[in-house]
């Protein structure tokens, strides 16, 4: 595909736009799905934290209720030792969640002789075991589970502890003080406890943690880890000491909020185990414990990433399919154009028979191809026509050229024309225009002493003029050889030409006959430009015009014969209007004045030299402008009679 071609531009523009659309779809999809997932995760995290908290609360509340009920029944001071034992047994057997229960009395409160009285029932290997607490090495009065409710005079959940006395596991104890009437006064009689293993909480939380992507942990009221997937933390670290170890102020602040019993959601980056995570937390109000649910962002957004990856993959596949389709379509559209272009180029280089692709489709390209075919046919027709016309024109031109050659051939061209005659020097030239014209000149002897010379100009141009010129020249010679008088010759020739001259063609003629012995020259003019006479010694002058009608127009016209005498060295310069009307590029005429000036410079030169000088002057004047008329000049220079020459010659010899 060409870089500047339609196909490339179409494809690249469409693909650019579609990739922008694709990118915005993927971006939008990512943003929206991320926000949906975050909302869902928030709901789920919050829900999970609350559900866990309420499940734990439920169990603990039932334990509390049992202990509260027991403490109430212990208000009765008449309970026997056996009943007390039964009570202990029942508590354990009826409440599977209770691990052990102690009914501990104030010193000497149950029996006056016994300082310690605290029966303790607990589970051991699927049966209920019994032991008595207290002794010099276990003075329970000073233990937290006894002292705290006693001093505060209200039920207390102890900080979870690792029980070494009975259960050998993480326990928490709910202790309720009970009172008895003594001296009509209600005084504290002892404390009843319900030990509850926190093992099930740990199991429940780790089950939850396994089901979820993240994990659940629990803090005591002082921030001690009660449950955490990292077993080293449990009971060994508080959230505050842990934050210190990690060097994380934000975790410490979080711990403070959790311990204060708040609920909430927090984004925590770089947590151990889960990395960047969301933390949902809530509290157990009774125990002042706190539950935290941690969701790693990575796991949460895994779905978003997967979804986006799939959307992007689908998009890219779509993009590739689209690209292929567009390239295919664009190429399909432009291929005929390319083919047409190469055909056009071939045609432009002259091969009109170049193959033009078939216009199969009816679209714009098809129309173009059809127009192109029409153009080719027109061109072919035009060229054929042109070839024919050119051939015809060439034939005509060739015939005209031949006619012109024939026309020029009938004029005397050989110079010097009469090398043996020393009495005169004659020279003539004709510079034909491009188109065949009708100028003529001629010179011939009428007899030994009489020499006839003439210049003529037939009206118009082309083949008719050429014919008329040939006829005139022939007539002139025939008539002049019979009648020596120029006026008579012109009159006769005029009559012959005027007869049946429907086209009204005419010819201007200047005809002179010189007696070469005497230099006497008789001449007549039929509307011809006046010639110049250049005397041997002095400035030239116009031969006075006779203003008689051009020949060939009107039968019966008569022409005057004038006589003048040429002295040896005199030159008669006869020309046609092609000389004086020669034009330069600005359409200025050469003019009679310029001709006269030029001829004046030629005193003492030969006839040939005079004509060559004037011809060069005309050429310089026109400066290459196209010549519109024949330029014809004839110079007749009289050198003196044979006798005179001979005398001169003999004289010189003497």
């Amino acid at each position: 595909m060409k870089v500047h071609g339609i196909a490339f531009r179409l494809a690249s523009l469409t693909l650019l736009v579609s990739s922008l659309i694709l990118a915005s779809i993927v971006g939008y999809n990512y943003t929206v799905s991320r926000s949906i997932i975050m909302d869902q995760a928030e709901d789920r995290g919050t829900l999970l934290a609350r559900a866990t908290s309420s499940r734990i609360s439920n169990v603990l509340t039932s334990v509390r209720k049992v202990a509260d009920a027991v403490s109430f029944s212990l208000e009765d001071g008449s309970l026997s030792e056996k009943r007390l034992n039964d009570l202990g047994n029942h508590i354990i057997s009826d409440n599977p969640e209770i691990f052990g229960t102690a009914i501990a009395f104030e010193p000497y409160a149950f029996k006056a002789d016994q300082e310690y009285y605290a029966p303790y029932h607990y589970r051991s290997q699927n049966r209920i075991a019994f032991t008595r607490l207290g002794g010099p090495d276990y003075q329970y009065f000073y233990m937290d589970w006894y002292q705290l409710p006693r001093e505060l005079d209200r039920p207390v959940w102890t900080e979870p502890y690792f029980d070494e006395g009975g259960g050998h596991q993480l326990m928490s104890t709910y202790s309720v003080p009970f009172h008895r009437k003594r001296f009509d006064e209600k005084t504290l009689a002892g404390v009843v406890t319900a030990d509850i293993s926190l093992g099930w909480i740990k199991t429940m939380l780790s089950d939850l943690s396994e089901r979820e992507a993240g994990y659940v942990f629990m803090l005591s009221r002082y921030g001690t880890f009660l449950a955490h997937p990292d077993a080293d933390l449990v009971q060994n670290e508080t959230i505050f000491s842990w934050a210190e170890t990690l060097g994380r102020a934000d975790i410490r602040e979080l711990g403070r909020r959790m311990v204060a019993g708040e609920s909430g959601i927090e984004e925590v980056d770089g947590l151990p185990l889960t990395g960047d995570s969301f933390l949902y937390f809530t509290s157990l109000p009774d125990q002042q414990w706190s539950i935290g649910v941690v969701f790693p962002k990575e796991a949460m957004f895994a779905d978003v990433f997967r979804l986006n990856r799939e959307v992007a993959t689908l998009g890219i596949l779509g993009f590739i399919a689209l690209a292929l389709l567009i390239i295919y379509l664009a190429t399909r559209i432009t291929r005929p154009l390319c083919n047409l272009t190469s055909s056009a180029n071939e045609m432009a280089s002259g091969n009109l028979d170049a193959d033009v692709p078939v216009a199969a489709s009816r679209d714009e390209v098809g129309e173009l191809t059809a127009s192109f075919l029409t153009m080719r046919e027109s061109l072919k027709g035009y060229i054929a026509n042109l070839t024919e016309t050119t051939a015809a024109k060439e034939r005509i031109e060739s015939e005209l050229r031949i006619a012109h050659d024939i026309q020029m051939g009938i004029l005397p061209k050989l110079f010097p024309a009469f090398p043996e005659r020393k009495e005169f020097d004659v020279y003539a030239s004709i510079e034909p225009a491009k188109e065949v014209g009708g100028d003529l000149y001629d010179f011939f002897f009428l007899d030994d002493d009489h020499f006839c010379f003439l210049v003529g100009d037939v009206s118009g141009k082309g083949v008719p003029a050429a014919f008329f010129m040939a006829v005139t020249k022939t007539l002139l010679k025939v008539v002049a050889e019979r009648d020596f008088d120029p006026g008579v010759v012109l009159a006769k020739v005029n009559d012959d030409l005027a007869e049946d001259n429907e086209a009204c063609m005419f010819v201007t003629l200047f005809l002179a006959v010189i007696d070469i012995d005497s230099g006497e020259t008789r001449y007549a003019s039929a509307g011809h430009n006046p010639p110049l006479l250049l005397p041997a010694d002095g400035p030239c002058e116009w031969v006075p015009p006779l203003n008689e009608l051009v020949a060939g127009v009107m039968e019966g016209t008569s022409y005057t014969t004038k006589t003048m005498r040429m002295n040896p060295g005199d030159t008669l310069f006869i020309y046609t209007d092609g000389v004086t009307e020669a034009m330069d590029k600005d359409n200025n005429l050469y003019s009679e004045d310029r001709l006269m000036e030029e001829v004046n410079q030629c005193g003492g030169r030969s006839a040939e030299s005079i004509i060559r000088t004037v011809a060069a002057s005309i050429k310089a004047f026109t400066g290459g402008a196209e010549q519109s008329d024949d330029i014809t000049m004839l110079a007749m220079q009289y050198l003196g009679s044979r006798k005179t020459n001979k005398e001169k010659h003999d004289g010189n010899n003497d």
Partner: protein, 107 residues
Amino acid sequence: MEITIEKRDAGTLVRVGGRMDAVAAPDFEKECAGVVESGEKLVVVDLAQLEYISSAGLRSILATAKKIKATGGAMKFSGLAGMVEEVFQVSGLGTLFEVAATPDEAF
């Protein structure tokens, strides 16, 4: 070449201006032929605005004159000046036709 034809009571005045050469001459001949064919007996050709006339121009004048003569009419000229007057004089055409100074004098 510019040609204007003006019909007058006494005849038709044909004014010719510009250059009357081999290219323009047939137009002149054609225009005048139209006038002659309409039966006009007197045609006055005013050449006051004519700058140049070639031999082909003269021929077309002669051809027109011949046509008019054949119908028994007459052709007159006026306004000859400069080069045109010279050509008329040299060619002897001035002796062939009646030439007046202005068109009004010719009618």
